[in-house]
C-alpha cells in the first residue's frame, strides 16, 4: 500500500487507477494509445460512435459538423486532504495555541480574527481563521484536468476539430476512499475547416450549439474550477452561529447582526472561483455558467465551503445580427 503522507501532490495525481491498470503500475496520462487505442483505431474502419441524441445529431449535421467518435477521459484521485494536510489538525490547536496558517501563497485568501474578550478560559476560541484550502483546489483541478486532457487527447487522435455535448461527473468510488472524475463527449469534424491548435470543446450540442454559432460565438473550451475555503470561527462567530455563550452576559454579541466572518468566507469562495475562471478565459466569455455551492459543517462554528463553477468558454467571431423581434406566443395546447 502506498503511504499517502509521503506522496507529493504531483505523485498523487499520477497515482490513478485505470481499467487496464495492474497493481503497482502507473499510467502515463499522456498515452492514450495504451488504454484506448484499439477502441479509437476501430473507429477508422467504418462506423463512428456518438453520445448525441438523434435530434442533436441531426442538428449538428445541419450546421456542418459530423461526429467521428465518442471520446472520454477519467482519473481517479485519492482525496487525501483530511489525512495529509497540515491544517486539518489545526482545529485542535487554533483555540489555545494561536496557530496561524503560514503557507500562504501570493493571491491565496486568508484572514484572521482575534478574540476581543481577553483570557476567558482555556476552551475559549481566541483566534478565528478563514483560509483558502489550496491543496483541495489543486487536487480537484488535477483530477478534472487529467480527465479533460485525456478526453481531448482522444479527440486529437481522431483528428477532430472539436468535442461537443460534453458531460462531466465527479463521484466517490464506493469503498475505495477515492474520487472518480469522468468526462465524455462526442468528437466532431467540420469538413473543410482549418484544424485548430487544440480541438474546441463545449457542453452544448444540437440546437443550442447551433444557436450559439448563429449568435456569432464559437466555442473554445470547457472551463471549470473549484474553490475551497475553510472557516474556523473565533469566539464571536461561534456565539453568533450557536446563539449561546458569552454574548448574553457580556453584551458583545447577543443582538441581531451580520455574522461577519461567515459572510466573508462565503464571499471569498464565490469570488475565488469567479476570478480563477476569469483567468482561464483570457479575454473570452464564459457562457452558460453552472455554479454549485456546498457547505460542510465541521463542528460548532467551523465549516468548509466549496464552490464549483463550470461552463463553455466562447469567443465572438461575428457581430450579433439583429434578430427579428421575438414573437410572443400563447400556446393553446
Amino acid at each position: 500500500m502506498v503511504n499517502t503522507r509521503s506522496l507529493s501532490l504531483e505523485r498523487l495525481s499520477l497515482w490513478t487507477v485505470e481499467m487496464a491498470l495492474e497493481d503497482g503500475d502507473e499510467v502515463d496520462p499522456g498515452d492514450v494509445e495504451e488504454v484506448a487505442g484499439s477502441r479509437l483505431s476501430s473507429l477508422n474502419k467504418g462506423a463512428w460512435s456518438s453520445a448525441l441524441s438523434v435530434s442533436d445529431f441531426a442538428s449538428c449535421k445541419e450546421i456542418g459538423m459530423s461526429p467521428v467518435g465518442f471520446v472520454q477521459g477519467c482519473a481517479v484521485m485519492q482525496w487525501a486532504w483530511y489525512i495529509s494536510n497540515p491544517y486539518m489538525g489545526a482545529a485542535n490547536v487554533l483555540g489555545g495555541g494561536g496557530y496561524a496558517p503560514n503557507a500562504t501563497r501570493s493571491g491565496q485568501y486568508s484572514e484572521t480574527w482575534r478574540c476581543p474578550h481577553g483570557f476567558v478560559s482555556a476552551d475559549h476560541r481566541a483566534y478565528g481563521y478563514n483560509f483558502e484550502q489550496v491543496w483541495v483546489e489543486e487536487n480537484w483541478a488535477k483530477g478534472f484536468g487529467l480527465a479533460y486532457d485525456r478526453m481531448m487527447e482522444e479527440a486529437t487522435t481522431l483528428g477532430a476539430h472539436g468535442v461537443i455535448g460534453v458531460v462531466d461527473e465527479m463521484r466517490n468510488l464506493a469503498g475505495t476512499g477515492a474520487v472518480e472524475f469522468k468526462i465524455n463527449g462526442t468528437a466532431v469534424v467540420v469538413p473543410g475547416a482549418k484544424t485548430p491548435g487544440r480541438p474546441f470543446a463545449t457542453f452544448l450540442s444540437g440546437q443550442r450549439l447551433s444557436k450559439l454559432l448563429e449568435a456569432g460565438f464559437t466555442p473554445v473550451s470547457i472551463v471549470a474550477h473549484m474553490s475551497s475555503v475553510q472557516m474556523y470561527g473565533y469566539c464571536v462567530t461561534s456565539y453568533q452561529m450557536s446563539g449561546s455563550g458569552m454574548g448574553n452576559w457580556s453584551g458583545t454579541v447577543g443582538g441581531i447582526g451580520s455574522i461577519d466572518q461567515v459572510g466573508k468566507a462565503q464571499r471569498a469562495a464565490r469570488h475565488l472561483v469567479r476570478e480563477r475562471i476569469r483567468a482561464q478565459l483570457a479575454g473570452d466569455t464564459l457562457h452558460g455558467a453552472h455554479l454549485e455551492i456546498s457547505e460542510h459543517e465541521m463542528g460548532e462554528g467551523a465549516m468548509s465551503i466549496a464552490c464549483l463553477m463550470k461552463g463553455t468558454r466562447v469567443r465572438q467571431f461575428n457581430d450579433f445580427a439583429k434578430l427579428p423581434d421575438a414573437e410572443i406566443v400563447l400556446r393553446l395546447a
Binding site: I63, G64, H161, V190, A193, K194, P196, G197, L204, R208, K211, L213, E214, A215, F217, T218, Q240, M241, S242, G243, G247, N248, V253, G254, G255, I256, G257, S258, I259, G263, Q266, R270, H271, R274, I277, R278, A279, L281, G283, D284, T285, L286, G288, A289, H290, L291, M309, G311, R315, Q316, F317, F320, K322, L323, I328, V329, L330, R331, L332, A333
Partner: protein
Amino acid sequence: MDAKKAVDALSAPPRPTATHHNPAGTTSDLSVDEVLLLHSIGWEPADMVFGVAWWSVPWGSWQWRTGEIVEASNAFAGAMEEAAGQLRAECARAGGSGVVGVKVDLRVRAQHIDVSLTGTAIRRTGKKPTGFEFISDLSARDFAVLTRSGWTPLGLATGASFVIAPRRTAKQWAAQQGQNVELPHLTEALYQAREGAMARMQQAGISMHAQGIVDVKMDEGPMGAGGRVMQFVAVGTAVKLAASEHQMIRPEMVVTLNDPVVLFEAASVRGG
C-alpha cells in the same frame, strides 16, 4: 449557420469587442436564448455577481414565547438588505446597470438566517456604463417581456414573518380530541405570518416607489419539527412603468402539434 467559419475563427486571434468593459473576460450564466433576447432589447451580460449574508438570531428568541419572533423577521430583513447591497456594489463594479435572474437561496436556522443571492449583471449594449438601476429575480426572458411591455424592474421586494402558535390549554386539547374541527391557534398563526410578510414586502415596494410587484414567490408552512412555528416568506420584483403606458404585446396564439397528450387530471375538476 456554417460551422466552418466558426472553427476557422479559432485559428485567428480574438477580435477585440468594442463594448468590452472587462478585458479579462466576462462570466455569465445566461443561455444563448437569453443572450439573444437581451440583445434584441439592447442589453448584454456584464458579469456574474454574488451577495451573501448570514445574520444571527439571538439565543432565547424562540423559547417560551408565542406570536411573532421579531428577531427572526428582522434578521431576515437585515440579511436580505446586506446581500442585495453586495449585489449592487458588484454590479456597479462590473460596469452593469442591473442584475437579472437572481437566484434567492434562503435558509432559516434557529440561530441564524442565511441569504445567498446569485445573478448576472447586465449592461446596455454599446453604451457607457449608466450606473446601477435594478436587481430582479426575473429571468432574462421575463425581463425582456417586461421591458417590451413598457415596465422596468426596480429591485427585490421581500418580507418574512415567523410566528409561534400558542399551546392549547388542556381543556381546549381535550375538547378537540377526536373531532373534525378547525385548530384556530394554527390558522391564526399562519394568518399572522402571512399578513406580516406580505405587508413588509408591499412596504418594500412602496419605499422603492414601485407601482407593483410581479412574480411574487411564497414559501409558507410549519418550520422544523415542533410544528408550532409558522413561517411565511414572500419575494418578488418591484416594477414601475417606464413608458407612458403599458405596451400591449398581443401574443400570437398557436396550437402546438407536438405536445405530449395531457392526461385528464381530477384535481382540475375539483378546483384544486
